[in-house]
Symmetry: C2
């Protein structure tokens, strides 16, 4: 059975018990979360988010990319969120490769060049989080009253701890 | 109480009952999902994903942006996923504005120009999904055996249905 068939069966069971069909577009909490694609990182579970509670953006490494900024601007300025949590996690795959390594692997396996792509790996989660938070705070298109914070989710304990970023 | 304080309290309860601390980086299913940031769209719940099951990428509109492609390349080529579901949803906020409208609103509220940002709204979910699937299928950096499919999640019923995209 394919993975798609497996999750479709799980969706059938989910839909049978679904009771939140009246939930509206606006978030219940004024919260937008940016986190990683890692399969162990499930923000709706570890933050206890119910249907409709908060926006969730996810990309490889939880990086404040131009596309993440596009989503955060839409979340805050069009849909009213005012707290933004950037959540990194322990044992992140983005700590395990360099741009040169992934470009060489892609070239060998596909023949195509990825030389113009920055895969955005990092060597220090806390330094990366601080850098990304500063990028967010400096963006002139975001609300001036947006509260931005950085966090580290521990995949071994399920626990979230703050990464302090000086103003 | 802030939204952050609220979800931190929920995380404390979650961590107390957390039992999946030994889960590894590789996904249990060979699956990567791309979906929207909408607060009613909770892929871990409506696909029944357990901790470690699948990668999840999320951006405003579930668009196949360069940043989404960065994440999908990492998921497939570095971490071994081979099925990619692009999941749009009913009542999407991206159907409610144009680039010109959001740029005018941002200019009025912040004074800053967003003229160089494409917020990627769309007027037809199915046409957008088909376009994005074609972009994925044409990318030379992805595995040739990657299975790509498009879906529509119904926020009123919790149910997922396929959006057929001709090869």
């Amino acid at each position: 059975m394919s993975a798609v068939d497996e999750v479709l069966e799980r969706n059938r069971v989910y839909a049978e018990g679904f009771t939140e069909g009246g939930t509206q577009l606006a978030t219940k909490l004024p919260l937008v979360v940016l986190t990683c694609i890692d399969a162990r990182v499930q923000p709706s579970r570890f933050l206890g988010l119910g249907v409709g509670d908060a926006h969730v953006i996810r990309n490889a490494g939880a990086r404040v990319t131009d596309d993440a900024l596009r989503s955060i601007i839409i979340s805050t300025q069009l849909l009213g969120t005012r707290e933004c949590m950037v959540i990194h996690h322990t044992d992140c795959g983005m700590l395990t490769f360099t741009n040169d390594e992934v470009r060489a692997k892609l070239k060998a396996e596909t023949g195509a060049s990825a030389d113009d792509i920055d895969f955005m790996p990092f060597t220090d989660i806390e330094a990366s989080a601080r850098n990304d938070i500063r990028t967010l705070r400096a963006n002139p298109l975001l609300p001036t009253d947006l509260e931005v914070s950085a966090w580290l989710y521990d995949v071994a304990t399920g626990r979230l701890d703050e990464v302090k970023v000086p103003d």
